[in-house]
């Protein structure tokens, strides 16, 4: 049995509360909060008048808390009830207006108070009937419930609408608004089969090809389970991000965040959309993006002088030929019936991202060499054309993985 009396522990609890609340606000505010809570509960629990909270700043010389010894004779059950409610009133005054904010405030208040009280005083509180451990667990469960309700109640329509605008603004930096909206519309369409609720994001094609697509989030989306929606939105973000050039890919998510602002980002995160995870996934998809850009450029360069379907035929035949030497190319599939559709004829499987980027570089180099070797004599027309078409960030990115177009030109000039 502890020799500490209830009065001593209550006094210590009050001091701890002043310290914990005061740390985040001010000690004066803490004293006022405690005093108000006692005043509120005093009519119900008369014995609370035995606790005096002074209006002066707490210091070692002048104790702001006075707990009369008589409190030791109060019925434990009544004392326990009063202290329990007292903690609730304090948490309520610290938290916001919603249930969730109140429970969150109480949870953190209790954690800190419990830590500061120490084992001995916690034990006395337990003897009075206040078990901070149980109280905390109870709040965690209540918080989780309140959180679920809060998320359910949160209007996802507005949040998603802001996110869509932010994606388009980010994509627009490097292309027209029409193209930006097309990319997003395509990304949404891609996942509509898998996530049926994406039909609540309406895509309206423009009447003329000068205006952008209209992408409207309808209120039905508010009823969709957040976790499922978060997954779909992350995939759409990844798909849209992949169309960025390699330089803007690095900052794609950061740019979206800067368009959104803090409050929207918090709401997005509460739905469960993890923007950092999207960023990391995009970084891991670099091989896929580099090879996709390579295909796109090859098709563009070759088709400018021939035709799209012919360009795809050439690229396909070279990839097939080189697959034996470069296993990284095994991750490239082609659908022959889609030759006329250009880049869409190719499918790059995700596994390419687990290959070494230098293996990919070697494969790209040999594709270039193969085409170039068919040009007569010392003609560098193909590489020259490729260099003119390729954006500078792509050229520097392939140089990092060992594809130096200048050396390819020199090599051809020498032999």
């Amino acid at each position: 049995m502890s020799t500490i009396q209830s009065s001593e522990t209550i006094k210590y609890l009050m001091r701890t509360l002043i310290h914990v609340i005061g740390r985040r606000t001010s000690e004066n505010f803490a004293l006022e909060t405690l005093s108000d809570a006692i005043n509120e509960l005093e009519p119900k629990y008369n014995f609370l008048k035995l606790i005096k909270v002074g209006s002066v700043v707490y210091s070692a010389e002048l104790d702001a808390i006075d707990v009369k010894m008589d409190i030791n004779y109060v019925d434990t059950e009544q004392l326990s009830k009063a202290l329990d409610e007292f903690l609730d009133v304090i948490a309520k005054s610290l938290g916001g207006s919603s249930d969730f904010d109140f429970q969150e405030a109480e949870h953190f208040l209790l954690t800190e108070v419990q830590d500061e009280l120490g084992e001995r005083h916690n034990l006395i509180l337990q003897q009075i009937g206040i078990n901070l451990d149980i109280k905390q667990n109870q709040f965690i469960i209540e918080m989780q419930e309140a959180y679920k309700i809060k998320i359910k109640r949160m209007r996802k329509t507005d949040v998603l609408d802001h996110l869509i605008k932010a994606i388009i603004l980010t994509l627009k930096r490097k292309r027209s608004e029409l193209d930006a909206s097309k990319i997003l519309a395509r990304s949404i369409n891609k996942y509509q089969k898998e996530y049926d609720f994406l039909k609540y994001i309406k895509i309206q094609a423009p009447p003329t090809n000068k205006e952008p697509y209209k992408i409207i989030v309808t209120s039905e989306i508010d009823n969709i389970w957040s976790a499922k929606m978060a997954k779909a939105i992350q995939l759409i973000l990844e798909e849209s991000g992949k169309t960025s050039d390699l330089k803007t890919l690095e900052t794609f998510i950061e740019d979206i965040k800067s368009q959104l602002g803090r409050s929207d980002i918090q709401k997005i995160e509460k739905i469960g959309i993890n923007l950092n995870q999207v960023h990391n996934t995009l970084q891991r998809q670099k091989n896929e993006i580099i090879f996709s850009k390579t295909l796109e450029l090859l098709i563009k360069v070759i088709s400018d002088k021939t035709s799209v379907s012919f360009a795809v035929t050439i690229v396909d035949s070279i990839i097939e030929k080189l697959k034996e030497r470069h296993t990284v190319l095994e991750h490239i599939k082609v659908e022959k019936s889609k030759y006329e559709e250009g880049l869409k004829a190719f499918e790059i499987t995700e596994e390419i991202n687990s290959e070494s980027s230098h293996d990919l570089g070697r494969a790209i180099k040999n594709i270039m060499k193969d085409i170039q070797n068919h040009f007569a004599d010392k003609s560098n027309s193909f590489i020259e054309d490729f260099k003119k078409t390729a954006p500078s960030d792509y050229i520097s990115e392939i140089e990092k993985i060992g594809v130096n177009l200048h050396i390819l030109e020199l090599r051809k000039s020498l032999f």
Partner: protein, 121 residues
Amino acid sequence: MKKIMMVDDNIDLTYVVKKRLEKTKSYKVISANSGKECIEILKKGKIPDVILLDIMMPEISGWDTFAKLKANDKWNKIPVVFLTAKTDSFSKGYGAVSANDYIEKPFEFSDLKKRIEKIIG
């Protein structure tokens, strides 16, 4: 007897080449005056041993006709020789990457015959 399909919108040229090749008694020549006709003939099951393909043709170009041949599992093994007036380095280069040979117009008949022999004997 080996079968050659000549695809060219220049009817006079296809006539002359057909006559001269058939005169050798080694080849039978099927003429098609467009890429579309070439595909229709192939669809009927008339599969040649080699296709001489012009590039600049109306409707479907030689490039697109080539792509259609390569996209079809029944036809993609047929050797193709581009026979064209396109002499720029790109056409020659890309033609050489893809086809079995690239012959520029105008050409010597003896040269054409030699290059066909090299492919199909």
